[in-house]
């Protein structure tokens, strides 16, 4: 399935990527599983996408790691927010 990934904050800077469309295995069903799949891209990915480092949103709604992902979803991966 196709997932649009967008990155903000620290992972955007460290991984040098703002957005991409990823073709992910149909077997992935949750955000947690998507992160495991992305961490396999290499050492930097494993470090930057560690569970205690990132927060996520699905289709622009904050989502916990157990949330389900689906084809054509927009998944955002970012460091904890710090506005104001």
């Amino acid at each position: 399935m196709k997932i649009k990934l967008v990155y903000f904050g620290r992972p955007r800077e460290q991984l040098k990527i703002a957005n991409e469309t990823a073709d992910v295995p149909e077997s992935l069903s949750t955000l947690a599983e998507l992160l495991v799949w992305l961490r396999a891209r290499g050492e930097e990915w494993a470090r930057e996408l560690a569970e205690n480092r990132v927060r996520c949103a699905i289709n622009q709604e904050f989502s916990g790691l157990a949330a389900r992902i689906g084809d054509q979803d927009e998944v955002a991966i970012f460091s904890p927010i710090s506005g104001g």
Partner: protein, 155 residues
């Protein structure tokens, strides 16, 4: 209700004047302006860089203001948040509220900035003389928001 996310600076006096003229029933205007500090722990801040999530950030601010409008009888609100590169003493954020009486204006202004800190997707990177680091949501900000969640309706 009006929300802006912008790189350029804002004029607090002009914004307050616009809010003042929004309703003849207004008896109280309150504003909060957040600024870039020049220190972080023991380091000197050279600049900060702010980014947001276009679409989601506007929706989050919209939801925060609607929630404030449900809690208090507001006659107007204005939120401006800057993004991009900012220097010490620059204005980062404006939250302004208009109401008939000061109690509602004070409380709603504080509520909106506390809620924004914990629920609006912005990211802030601080550049100091010892390097750069992305800031994270502070525990004290989360505690302030938890206080609002516990007090569902205004006192």
């Amino acid at each position: 209700m009006s929300i802006s996310i912008q790189e350029h600076d804002f004029d607090v006096a002009a914004e307050m004047a616009a809010l003042r003229h929004g309703s003849s029933k207004t008896g109280a205007l309150v504003s909060f302006v957040g600024l870039v500090r020049d220190f972080s722990k023991d380091d000197r801040i050279e600049n900060i860089f702010l980014e947001h999530y276009p679409g989601m950030t506007e929706n989050a601010l919209d939801k925060i203001i609607r929630e404030a409008t449900l809690r208090w009888n507001l006659l107007g609100t204005r939120v401006i948040h800057r993004i991009g590169l900012l220097l010490p003493n620059d204005q980062i954020v404006l939250v302004a509220t208009a109401a008939q009486h000061r109690g509602e204006a004070f409380a709603s202004c504080e509520f909106i900035i506390d809620y924004l800190k914990t629920a609006a997707p912005f990211w802030k990177k601080e550049q100091t003389d010892h390097g750069g680091q992305w800031l994270e949501t502070r525990d004290s900000d989360i505690q302030r928001m938890e206080h609002w969640i516990k007090t569902e309706k205004p006192a």
